[in-house]
Symmetry: C2
DNA sequence: GGGAGATGATTAACATGTTAAGTGTTTGCC
DNA sequence: GGCAAACACTTAACATGTTAATCATCTCCC
């Protein structure tokens, strides 16, 4: 079998961890986890958004998002209301307080990102991002290998 | 601020998830989680190994590894004994039963990996892995951006 | 217009990620 | 040789990942 440390999932995991390690302390100083930050960050790009669509944008599973929204709402960083046309749907938006928090975190975040870009190289970074997109697309319609053995 | 969906952490997360989505069903059919598989897989490369070193190999934090080892030991997939020279250290190795399980999973796993390689391209895959290593190394000695604000 | 099935969201249950604290052992040094 | 600091590992506590089940609403079709 392929040498373990060279497997693609491990490489991606390690690279991502190396990157996130840079951001976590700053987020923590503002009382935010990585996922909470992703949600607030996604919300700044829209006026309001339904929960399912937000999950897609922030790349979180429904249950995780549900829990985090409950907390963010309690902290008054986001607002939630039920859609009028369909009572099942909830529409979420960032609050003024949430925006303020984003603005407080952003400078440090940007500085870290800039330093990562400087170290790794801007061109190289673009190439990497492009490859990652292609990888994702390559596997988009792959079966799922379910019928492995006795199921 | 940079468009959210193009941030490096998100790109890495999405790519990794696209890859892991392929493997999870098969692992699940064998009663293994991704992390349990990583541990068993790492153990096949060595005779025996200390817990801390295993954590480094499988890229798991100590607490996660502790919990998982407890479970794998209960299922008799791994064996653990205390080092004679240093009572603090525990030495872990894979059991015959564990090896058998690995051998049962490996074919499907290899087939999936081969299909991923075929779709993405072998050369491209090598390039990607190389870039990920460089990225990791680029950030290896980066500060940690701790002194963000009032600390 | 009413009921079966689909859909959006949440809850439940268990596994892991993450940081801090705790436990037992060893090491270095006086 | 004994004690403070370092070390290896585990536990604790809370947040998230993951899958399945539940709940409420809605849609479609008869």
């Amino acid at each position: 079998m392929r040498e373990f440390s060279r497997s693609l999932p491990m490489s991606l995991l390690r690279a991502r961890e190396a990157v996130m390690r840079q951001f976590r302390p700053s987020l923590r100083n503002h009382g935010l986890t990585e996922q909470q930050w992703r949600i607030l960050r996604a919300l700044t790009a829209v006026e309001a958004i339904e929960v399912t669509e937000l999950a897609r944008m922030a790349f979180l599973l429904g249950p995780s998002l549900s829990r985090i929204l409950r907390d963010l709402e309690a902290r008054q960083l986001v607002e939630r209301k039920t859609a009028v046309v369909d009572q099942r749907r909830a529409v979420v938006s960032i609050s003024a307080k949430g925006l303020k928090l984003i603005e407080a975190v952003a400078p440090t975040s940007e500085a870290i990102y800039a330093e990562i870009t400087r170290r790794f190289g801007a061109r190289r970074l673009s190439e990497l991002q492009e490859m990652l997109v292609v990888l994702e697309q390559s596997l988009a319609d792959m079966a799922g290998a379910d019928s492995d053995d006795g199921e």
